[in-house]
Amino acid sequence: MTEETVLREDQQEIELEPVGAVKAEGQSVRVTRRTFLSGLGATGLMVTAPLAASASATTANGAAAATAGKTHVVLKVNGEEHDLGMLDSRATLLDTLRERLYLTGTKKGCDHGQCGACTVHVDGRRVNSCLTLAAMAAGKDVTTIEGLGIPTRMHPMQAAFVEHDAYQCGYCTSGQIMSAVALMKEPIGESDGEIKEAMAGNICRCGAYPNILAAVKQVRGQMKNS
């Protein structure tokens, strides 16, 4: 999940005990003690070893074995399989990503499909992860914002968002970008109005919509020209 293993001075290694998941060997997280920001940026907390050490117990669909209130779930996120063991069946994909896989780029804004902050791709299509049960995403390809690009190697849409200042606080941004990337493959029209309508499921309280529109249009233009 991360490229470097050397800790900076302001980080410490601590043992990780994920709740509700089988503990994999050698898990650790790095916790940053201070706010740190540079032009390239730095992450404060990363999982330094894959959470899923073993995927031996997977079933065909990844979620067939069920007991009272729990389901064995293996999630494939950003190309990597994560065996969550016997997972609480109530766990949404959003809470599982955030609280168990520590992929916190996906945000919770309303928890009811009313804001779009939690947008991820499931089998290439954008969905609200807050209304998706993790057990129902098992066996499918889940892509989150972390799977698109990293600060030093951004996806063209991420780069376009930076260039056009297509965010302010950044909280809804992951969802906006996941929507924008998915939109590229959807059969919608060319006009600004059609793009705005297609992006209407992602609320930005900071109101960066004009800049988001500009970013989306730029990447659409690039794709057409390439």
Binding site: V19, G20, T32, G39, T104, K107, P151, V162, I203, L213
Partner: protein, 764 residues
């Protein structure tokens, strides 16, 4: 003189920027340049960490239980079912929780949003008030357990009515001059109307979140706050621990709009649960709680009386403004914020009063006071223009003020006239025909309206530290926080300007209360506040570096008079050498290495504008003009805002790219304020009945009009050496009244009570 931006065309600043050069030399030109924000790569990759993103080992999850009555007393609380839910670690409530103290009243450095700590007594003051807290191993378990806590209440009928009149309480005179009532009575043309704005909910998309973790008697909060220092101070008082034992970290904030200025009761609850369980605890409030427990813009009801001569000169202006507040706090919205100085009028009175309601405590929301106040005043001005048969722009121009008539002070910098004229030209206002419904395009009726805008300019105390390090990096530290608008980048721009280093070699560390104390993020004062402090710290660190360069043997600069040395593009060199040449001098880190130093540091401080002799006798405000176009289809009662032209006079804009984005965003919020937003309280139990994002409507991308932003560029050096004021609030001011006036122009319906709804327009 001006540079405008539509969409995301590259912004540049020209004209008066040159005036600024003398005061704050920007040899690298990075101040005022539309640079990309440095946190972009983190925010667009999901790497930026917000409070709720923090994870700690053995962390437990807390979910509050909310009261389901709006007034009454808790008769009984049965937590047995909740405690029996697998994974539940504790159910805290008044009967078993350790004591929470109140924060010291009126301590300006330890302000809280809601005076009453959670569970302090058995009374219920508003719907949704916390009555218990469930902590469990997982979020799912805690949520399920919270749902089975059984509370019984002796319920009473709450008072939540949006109607604030009739009001029989005591009025407070905010501002007065002349004899307003007599002047109004004698005026040739009058407007006497009452305007209302609803309860609005801040609704940042980031939910308020607290992760609290104790280490012995020390506690750390990973917190969503607009003020890490204030939060630390308040938490120390509430938890009864020394201030030094509390650390508050806010690396990124998913915006706040005022709602996250000060702590709310849930913050201390998370800490208490964490202390009891000796485990880190995460508490993220739900969207429903965002409507009841973490503030809102209060309902306002404002009677405006404006009298003018027949030729449109104001002779009397009276504002009587009510706002609702909670029963545990007295929150004054301050609707008269802009009334006293915006126009020239000899007779004026502004009075205000509070009306208690069974609602959670209100809290400042973007442009508090001025935004609802200007909705009322600018709507009344539009009505006056109609009554006078006078162009509304002309009416404003005719009554432009040259001094602040509320206190007789000079304005530090006021260009409202140019805002109005520029906006009028850019909008094409001259083509407007004043008759209702007289303009059409593509089969739709067009309405054009406008309003003036204003917001105060402030600077508060700030300390920062700048380090120049032997690793070749410059670093600045400040216990303030970037609420999402670009403060990280502002710091980086100043440091880049001073040191000549590229952003890659600049580190900005914010959002940690243990760093030098910086300002709250509110009131549009962050930029104006931090700029001088960073500049001073950078100058100090550079002076220290140059002195070391002059006195350190082994560098080519040894023995030079430090006064003859400069730091340019990261290199230390003699002033006589051409800056920027690779041959000129040495890299600054080489100096430090030669001196065997890790680095040099210096502190910088700026003081409050209220203690600044140069500034305190001036009236300092930003100004603006909003021009709005609506499209109206009466056959289907469909109204949409199609175009907004905004002209802002906010001093020098440090980063026009981020600045224009902020103004556009404020206009979008203004569309919501005008047409969509209202928190509706069920009158039977006081519940915000539309407390979710499907029923409380905020503008979507499809609602965003075409927006044209222009910054006038008049640096205000009375406020700071960079001439920057602030832009967080002013973009919202004036948008709603401009739209309401446009709606009148299109439909003939004057809506005086926001939001403007379809049903209001059905009569047209």
């Amino acid at each position: 003189m001006t540079v405008s931006t539509t969409g995301t065309a590259p912004e540049t600043m020209t004209g008066a920027t040159a005036e600024a050069a003398g005061a704050a030399a920007s040899q690298h030109g990075i101040i005022g340049r539309p640079v990309a924000r440095i946190d972009g790569p983190l925010k667009t990759t999901g790497t930026a960490e917000y409070a709720g993103d923090f994870h700690l080992p053995w962390m437990a999850f807390a979910v509050p239980v909310q009261a389901t009555v709006g007034k009454g007393t808790i008769r009984s609380l049965d937590v047995t079912a909740a405690e029996a839910v697998p994974g539940v670690l504790a159910v805290l409530h008044r009967g078993n929780m350790e004591r929470l103290y109140r924060a010291v009243p009126n301590d300006p450095n330890a302000t809280v949003s809601e005076t009453r700590p959670a569970f302090e007594d058995d009374r219920i003051y508003y719907w949704g008030q916390y009555v218990a807290l469930v902590v469990a191993e997982s979020l799912e378990q805690a949520t399920a357990a919270a749902a089975v806590v059984k509370a019984e209440y002796a319920a009473e009928t709450p008072e939540v009515s949006r109607e604030l009149e009739p009001f029989a309480g005591k009025w407070n005179t905010v501002s007065t001059r002349g004899t307003v009532d007599a002047a109004f009575a004698a005026a040739a043309v009058k407007v006497d109307q009452t305007y209302g704005t609803p309860a609005e909910t801040h609704n940042p998309i980031e939910l308020h979140a607290t992760v609290a973790v104790w280490d012995g008697d020390r506690v750390t909060f990973y917190e969503s706050t607009q003020g890490v220092v204030n939060h630390r101070n308040a938490m120390a008082q509430i938890l009864g621990v020394p201030r030094e034992n509390v650390t508050v970290v806010t690396k990124f904030l998913g915006s706040g709009f005022g709602g996250k200025l000060f702590p709310w009761p849930h913050c201390a609850l998370a800490a208490v649960a964490s202390r009891k369980l000796q485990r880190p605890v995460k508490l993220v409030v739900t969207r429903t709680m965002m409507f009841s427990n973490v503030g809102h813009r209060p309902v306002t009801e404002q009677r405006f009386r404006i009298g003018a001569s027949a030729d449109g000169k104001l002779v009397a202006l009276r504002q009587d403004a009510l706002n609702h507040t909670s029963l545990v706090d007295s929150f004054d919205e301050g609707c008269g914020e802009a009334t006293g100085y915006l126009y020239s009028v000899p007779n004026l009175t502004v009075a205000s009063a509070l009306v208690g309601r069974n609602v959670g405590s209100p809290m400042a929301m973007r442009g508090p006071g001025a935004v609802p106040g200007l909705f009322a005043m600018e709507s009344a001005m539009d009505e006056l223009a109609v009554a006078l048969k006078m162009d509304p722009v002309e009416l404003r121009l005719k009554n432009d003020a040259t001094v602040d008539e509320s206190n007789g002070r000079k304005f530090s910098s006021r260009h409202l006239r140019e805002c109005l004229e520029t906006g009028s030209a850019k909008f094409g206002w001259k083509q407007r025909t004043p008759q209702v419904g007289s303009m059409r395009r593509d089969g739709k009726v067009l309405g054009w309206g406008m309003a003036a805008a204003s917001w105060g300019a402030y600077r508060f105390a700030c300390a920062t530290t700048v380090d120049l390090n032997a690793d070749g990096k410059a670093r600045v530290r400040c216990a303030t926080q970037d609420v999402g608008t670009g403060l990280y980048t502002i710091f980086a721009q100043v440091l880049a300007e001073k040191t000549g280093l590229p952003f890659e070699r600049i580190e900005v560390l914010l959002g940690d209360s243990s760093m030098p104390e910086g300002p709250l993020s509110g009131g549009s004062w962050s930029t104006a506040t931090v700029l001088p402090a960073v500049a001073e710290a950078a100058d100090g660190a550079i002076a220290s570096l140059l002195s070391i360069a002059a006195s350190t043997p082994g560098t080519p600069l040894a023995g030079a008079d430090a006064k003859t040395l400069r730091m340019t593009e990261g290199r230390v060199h003699r002033a006589t050498e051409s800056a920027g040449l690779p041959s000129a001098g040495v890299p600054f880190e080489a100096v430090l290495q030669a001196a065997r130093l890790n680095g040099v540091s210096a502190d910088g401080r700026s003081g409050s504008v209220f203690e600044d002799p140069k500034a305190r006798d001036l009236s300092m405000h930003s100004f603006g003009a909003q021009f709005a176009e609506v499209e109206w289809e009466p056959e289907i009662a469909r109204l949409r805002v199609s175009r907004v032209v905004t002209v802002i006079d906010a001093g020098r804009i440090i980063n026009p790219r981020a600045g224009a984005n902020q103004i556009r965003g404020a206009v979008v919020m203004g569309v919501g304020m005008a047409l969509l937003e209202e928190t509706v309280y069920d009158r039977r139990n006081g519940q915000p009945i539309n407390g979710n994002l499907a029923d409380y409507l905020m503008a979507t991308s499809a609602d965003a009009p075409e927006i044209d932003v222009t910054f006038l560029d008049y640096p205000d050096f009375a406020l700071n050496s960079y001439g920057a004021r602030g832009i967080g609030e002013i973009g919202l001011a004036g948008v709603a009244p401009a739209i309401a006036s446009a709606v009148y122009h299109a439909t003939g319906v004057r809506v005086r009570k926001l939001p403007i709804r379809i049903e209001d327009l059905m009569q047209a």
